[in-house]
């Protein structure tokens, strides 16, 4: 346990600081993403040695979760996938002149959740990793299906519309190579589409370009946010009070989702948003610029980032691109993660855990004073801001794969996003479908193969069966309720 203090040596503190600063910048700028940034600095971290090197890589990973909310709140462009849901209420809060409060709450929620997840990681790693291991393809399919069904009502709009957008996102995810056989699908002989549609390009288009188009179409609707006094940049007592319950719910939820293989931080933020829409006292305000819509998801994605470290450190299994880069870093530094990590490299294990505490404090200290600077972005008139957003989106889309095709995807997604706004469709469920599509397809096909073609394999275990029944209930209950209401009304009249 005394190895925990290894993180306090000057070299490790410096590595932690460099990691979290770099991670914050990566999170703020859409495009590169934490996995890409970690891969870029990997050669440098090898020179630092295992402990400092891994501390720096981990700092980039959770630092990006902090920074990802900034552009979501200020310019409606998510810095990374886990911040997509923050755009819904964060951007509306910024338009109301509460950008500073939203940024500060996002930083505080990230700190609370990050710290909680480290404590939980330290205490519960062996036990919860065993639970996560029990998830086979059938359970994972049922979990993902339940997730998309529950979350389809994200924005409070019509459930059928949200579900249609989830399915449309799943359909978009089938462009490119199929996850099991490698067959190229729906590319129509366009070479750039073979790797699939870039998530960054689609997201930048649906959110950023659509916002630019909406501003061009209705410039009068875009009222620049007035500059607010310094004190008003920070959350009021009321906003802080309202943020506490969603922050705590998001923290626990995010940590648990983080244990499940897959894009945990993204799923966790969507789950948290869905939960807030159902249980929050202010649920009627969520979607119109409520602080709960920022506090919950931001806490959830940071807690999930911590939770995602458990399978990596305890079992040596990475379930996200970022933890996969971290695993390669460990192997390159001759550190083998897994059950023997604690015995063979206690300084590395506890040093990295210790750096999480320090890194979270550093991130809070870094982000809170910068709130004022970030919030000023929201006061820039659209004629200056929107061209910048367009450039940012184009750079993000192109830099994902250095592929001009992705820029066209971004433009197409932008036009689609603009049309969707006009027709009352929200883009967030589509993004969720795009993320979960490959997970659903892979787990469904694997389960069918394991069951030798018998679909009963999908509900052969109790957890999978319970989750599938819950999915059916979630799907059918509102329709049955509506039918009953209609019948009662007809009888009454």
């Amino acid at each position: 346990m005394s190895d925990l203090f290894v993180a306090l040596t000057p070299a490790n503190l410096l590595a932690c600081f460099a990691g979290v600063v770099l991670g914050t910048i990566v999170g703020v700028l859409p495009g590169l993403g934490p996995a890409g940034a970690m891969a870029l600095v990997l050669p440098l971290t090898i020179k630092l040695g295992p402990t400092a090197g891994l501390i720096m890589l981990a700092g980039i990973y959770y630092g990006s979760m902090y920074g990802g909310s900034t552009t979501s709140i200020l310019v409606n462009v998510p810095g990374e996938a886990a911040s997509v849901v923050t755009t819904i209420d964060g951007y509306r809060l910024a338009r109301k002149g509460r950008a500073g409060a939203a940024l500060a709450i996002a930083a505080i929620a990230s700190f609370v959740a990050g710290t909680f997840s480290v404590v939980a990681l330290q205490l519960a790693a062996p036990f919860v990793a065993r639970l996560a291991l029990a998830f086979g393809p059938a359970e994972y399919f049922a979990f993902a299906l339940l997730g998309v069904t529950l979350l389809a009502n994200l924005t409070g709009g019509a459930r059928a519309k949200s579900l249609a957008m989830v399915v449309a996102g799943i359909m978009l995810s089938t462009v490119g190579m199929d996850p099991l056989g490698g067959t190229v699908r729906f590319t129509f002989d366009v070479a750039g589409a073979q790797a699939g549609l870039s998530f960054i390009a689609v997201t930048a288009g649906l959110f950023g370009v659509a916002e630019v188009l909406a501003t061009i179409a209705a410039p009068a609707d875009f009222a620049p946010v007035a500059r607010v006094p310094f004190r008003a940049l920070y959350p009021s007592r009321e906003e802080l009070r309202r943020s506490v319950p969603p922050m705590l719910r998001g923290t626990v939820l995010g940590f648990l989702v983080g244990l499940v293989p897959g894009p945990a931080a993204t799923i966790a933020s969507f789950v948290s948003y869905g939960v807030e829409k159902r249980v929050s006292r202010y649920r009627h305000e969520i979607g119109t610029g409520a602080i709960e819509g920022v506090a919950g998801p931001e806490a959830a994605n940071n807690a999930a980032a911590g939770g995602g470290m458990i399978p990596l450190l305890a079992l040596g299994l990475p379930f996200t691109p970022s933890t996969a880069v971290l695993l390669s870093g460990m192997l390159l530094m001759s550190v083998t993660p897994g059950p023997f990590l604690l015995r063979d490299h206690p300084q590395v294990f506890w040093g990295v855990i210790g750096s999480f505490y320090i890194g979270n404090v550093m991130l809070l200290l870094l982000n809170l004073p910068l709130v004022g600077i970030f919030a000023r972005v929201a006061t820039i008139p659209p004629r200056y801001l929107m061209p910048g957003v367009l450039v940012l989106c184009s750079v993000a889309a192109y830099s994902d794969n250095n592929n001009a095709f992705d820029v066209w995807v971004m433009v197409g997604a932008g036009v689609l996003g603009y049309a969707m706004r006009g027709l009352g469709y929200d883009p967030a469920p589509l993004v969720l479908g795009l993320v979960l599509g490959p997970v659903l397809e892979r787990s469904l096909l694997q389960a069918l193969t394991i069951g030798r073609g018998d679909p009963r394999e999908l509900w052969s275990s109790a957890p999978a069966a319970i989750m599938l029944v819950a999915t059916a209930v979630v799907l059918l209950a509102p329709a049955a309720r509506a039918g009953l209401r209609l019948w009662t009304r007809e009888r009454a009249s």
């Binding site: 249609a164 729906f186 329709a479």
Partner: protein
């Protein structure tokens, strides 16, 4: 009385989604389905396309048509599940 603009807009968007689903299903016909034991690359797109088509139809319906469609779908699914698949004798 003509339908409200929002309802008319929803009908048109439902039609657009249905066309998209049909186009996707047609484009997906070139990928083999194979068998359930060795699923081919066409099986998941087929399921996704049918799901979108069903949702588009659902969205295009209103009033009594929705519960009627739901009842029909549940009956057909139950028949398939209990009668055809599990072999439970139905009255």
């Amino acid at each position: 009385m003509s339908p409200r603009p929002a309802a008319r807009r929803d009908h048109w968007s439902a039609l657009g989604l249905a066309v998209l689903a049909l186009g996707y299903l047609l484009a997906g016909r070139r990928y083999p389905l194979d068998t359930l034991a060795t699923p081919g690359p066409g099986i998941f797109p087929l399921a996704a396309g049918l799901a979108l088509l069903a949702l588009a139809v659902w969205q295009g319906l209103d009033g009594w048509w929705r519960p009627a469609a739901l009842a029909l779908a549940v009956t057909a699914a139950s028949r398939l599940l209990f009668g055809t698949w599990l072999g439970v004798p139905l009255p």
